[in-house]
Amino acid sequence: MTAVAATEPRRMRASLTLSVGIVLVGLHVVVALLTLVWTPYDPAGMAGGRLEGPSLAHWAGTDRLGRDLFTQIMIGSRIALTVGAGAVGIGALIGVTLGILAAFATRFLDDVLAAAFDILIAFPTLLLAMLVVAATDSASLFSAILALGLAISAIVGRLTRILAKRVLEMDYITAARTAGTSWAGIVFIHLLPNIWPTLLVNFALQFGLAVIAEASLSYLGLGAPPPNASWGRLLQEAQGTVYTAPFGAIAPGLALVTLVIGMNMLADGLRDIGDPTRRRSR
């Protein structure tokens, strides 16, 4: 009886966190999809006067060139989600593959991979991104995604390796091996189903971090070049006018915060609900 009473509110709180997270992220996804077919104004068109404040016609005001900021922020959602998804996708693909490889590998290869993950994690993400930009010769959406994906792959790789090693020590793995299950069979039947909930939570967290990192890159001019309206670039452009037209900085800032908080809540909610080991340990 007492055990149930203690668990129920916690699960309710978890589902509340998850719902808010889903709503916030869902909102951005809907807006991002909407921009593919419709925006309130032409993103490049000069729809109003210079640095107008928020109004019914321009919900977030206009920028220095008289372009509608709300339109740009909507497109920013699309860019943020593209970069987040792309970076996490690359990170997951490389990270999970290498992590599992390390867990199965010989002692020597395992050490090499573990050291490689640690080195890559210790390397500042922005510096890594600058290197990638320098290597690809120009800043673009692709170079930003690639750089962030590489950074994420190390984090995912390290986590996968640890999780996989823990699972591989289990008796049922030994049993499966004895029964003649193939290498691939162990990975896909036993290993991945056991570690994916934890990985999924990590992906959601990394997604939020990637969105922030992309904004930082764009702020520094290393992200998607104009006219891609990345939030980081909107923030950078609003910096000089922050006293006279503060909404130019507040609006993209709010968009960034809602998406990142949404992603974090989604991750929290997923962890509390979806991770069986955590639930049991409480």
């Binding site: 490049a44 104009p226 037209a245």
Partner: protein, 494 residues
């Protein structure tokens, strides 16, 4: 006529305003606190110290044979009189008597020889070194007479000499100390924070109107503005964004002054390569961009439109804003005539700092209207230097050019934009060896008109030079040509 007259009176009034209120209640002992973003790296203007050293020391601590006044004309400073030989190759300068250096040594012809040779020396990093390259020899004739011999005529010699500080030949280590003849001497230099000047008691000319100046250095514009708002400084030497002005513009506690700068925002094409080697293409681009709307977007009510590379403070200025003025219809026609009826696409290398990215987007929108597709490539200032300035590997780029009297760049076909017109090269090369100033000005005016008609680059606008001060501070220079900031006439009332 009345219109013109009104305009002139207004212009005169604007020029006079800062100095006008010198009269009542001025405190001769007040120390003027100047806020600046440009801390010098060292104290020697021939050793790569940056523009900050000109701001703090030109005319204040060091003087030259000639002085570039705030309105743009060049006047005698440490020279009382000079003679030019028939062939224009020998200049004889008579020096101001009774001038002493801050260390107490008297100024002699030997010091002048030493000072000029310091700038023309092999090891000098002075940006003016090349303009003094025609100097063959400098000799002291007697205590107060110097003779300069040139290899060819150089009509701008007095102007070029205004950049040459007269330094005591006995001075040691002027990168960390000073020994000049100016109205102020260096009192204290705290690296990373401030540089203070106090009046030199034995100054040969008129004593400063204040009790000294302190340059306070900031690394960030917002911090600098806040310092003025809170009264920590009295003046800001240059405001870099119109929007930070809103805090001061309607506030009676502050005075905002707009002077003429020499900083030009321009889109430079690589004139060597297709399609920019086609004059019609360049003209079409110039006509497709509404400079007026751009200036309004970037600077609000400030700044000036220019139709060419030459700002109004250069002696060979002509109003060329009507040449290749905004006219998208004729831009389309020109593109068709040039063989690009459907437009073309190019990459615009854009420095990552303000205002270039926003200017690039404006250009992108404007050119899209006439069918030209612009791809914006954001680069750092360092990349700009290596990729564009050195390697000349680009199609078009944005840049701000700050120098005074820099039309000569269009006479150099090896310059990064590669503009190569034999007539212009000849005009610019021969201008310097003109017999009279009028002849030189006329030649450069011709060159100026040709580059404007051929749209060698697209000159978007001229930055404003904005100085903001507390309302009780007056008498400061408003144009700040060549980054100079003469402090001796500044007064503060209580």
């Amino acid at each position: 006529m009345t219109h013109l007259f009104k305009g002139l009176t207004l212009a005169a009034a604007l020029v006079l305003v800062p100095g006008a209120a010198v009269a009542q209640g001025a405190d001769p002992d007040a120390v003027i606190r100047i806020g600046s973003l440009y801390e010098p790296q060292n104290l020697d203007n021939t050793a790569g110290a940056g523009q900050g050293i000109n701001e703090a020391f030109n005319g204040n601590v060091y003087e030259a044979l000639f002085q570039l006044q705030d309105e743009g004309e060049v006047t005698e400073q440490l020279v009382t009189d000079y003679e030019i030989s028939e062939d224009g190759l020998t200049y004889t300068f008579s020096l101001q008597p009774d001038v002493t250096f801050h260390s107490g040594d008297p100024l002699t012809a030997e010091d002048v020889v030493y000072s000029i040779e310091r700038v023309t020396a092999e090891t000098s990093q002075s940006s003016r070194k090349s303009s003094l390259a025609t100097i063959e020899s400098v000799e002291a004739i007697d205590e107060l007479t110097v003779e300069v011999t040139l290899s060819e005529r150089s009509i701008s010699l007095p102007y070029n000499l205004s950049y040459v500080w007269i330094v005591n030949d006995a001075a040691v280590d002027i990168t960390a100390s000073e020994d000049g003849t100016g109205p102020y001497r260096l009192d204290d230099w705290r690296r990373g924070s401030s540089l203070s000047l106090v009046p030199y008691e034995n100054y040969w000319g008129e004593a400063p109107s204040n009790g000294g100046v302190v340059f306070n250095y900031f690394t960030e514009a917002t911090a600098l503005n806040n310092a003025l708002l809170t009264g920590a400084v009295d003046i800001i030497t240059s405001v870099q964004s119109p929007d930070s002005l809103a805090q001061f513009a309607d506030n009676p506690s502050f005075t905002v002054t707009e002077g003429a700068s020499t900083t030009k925002e321009l889109m430079a094409y690589n004139d060597r390569i297709e399609p920019f080697n086609n004059v019609k293409v360049r003209q079409a681009i110039a006509r497709a961009i509404n400079d007026e709307q751009l200036l309004e977007a970037i600077w609000g009510d400030y700044g000036t439109l220019i139709g060419s590379f030459v700002p109004p403070t250069d002696p060979w200025y002509v109003d060329l804003t009507d040449v290749n003025a905004y006219d998208p219809e004729s831009a389309r026609e020109l593109l068709a005539e040039a063989g690009y009826p459907d437009g073309f696409s190019f990459t615009l290398d854009t420095p990552n700092y303000d205002p270039h990215p926003i200017v690039a987007q404006f250009i992108q929108n404007e050119l899209a209207e006439v069918g030209i597709d612009v791809e914006i490539n954001i680069i750092t200032a360092n990349e700009w230097y290596t990729k564009i300035y050195q390697a000349q590997d680009f199609e078009a780029t944005l840049q701000e050019h700050v120098n005074h009297r820099d039309i000569v760049f269009y006479g150099n076909p090896d310059f990064y934009w590669g503009y190569d017109n034999p007539e212009v090269i000849e005009l610019i090369a021969s201008a310097e060896s003109s017999a009279t100033v009028e002849e030189r000005n006329e030649k450069l005016r011709q060159a100026n008109i040709i580059i404007a008609e051929e749209a060698a680059s697209d000159w978007l606008y001229l930055y404003p030079q904005i100085v903001v001060s507390a309302a009780n501070v007056t008498g400061y220079p408003i144009n700040g040509l060549n980054s100079q900031f003469y402090a001796y006439d500044i007064v503060k009332t209580n």
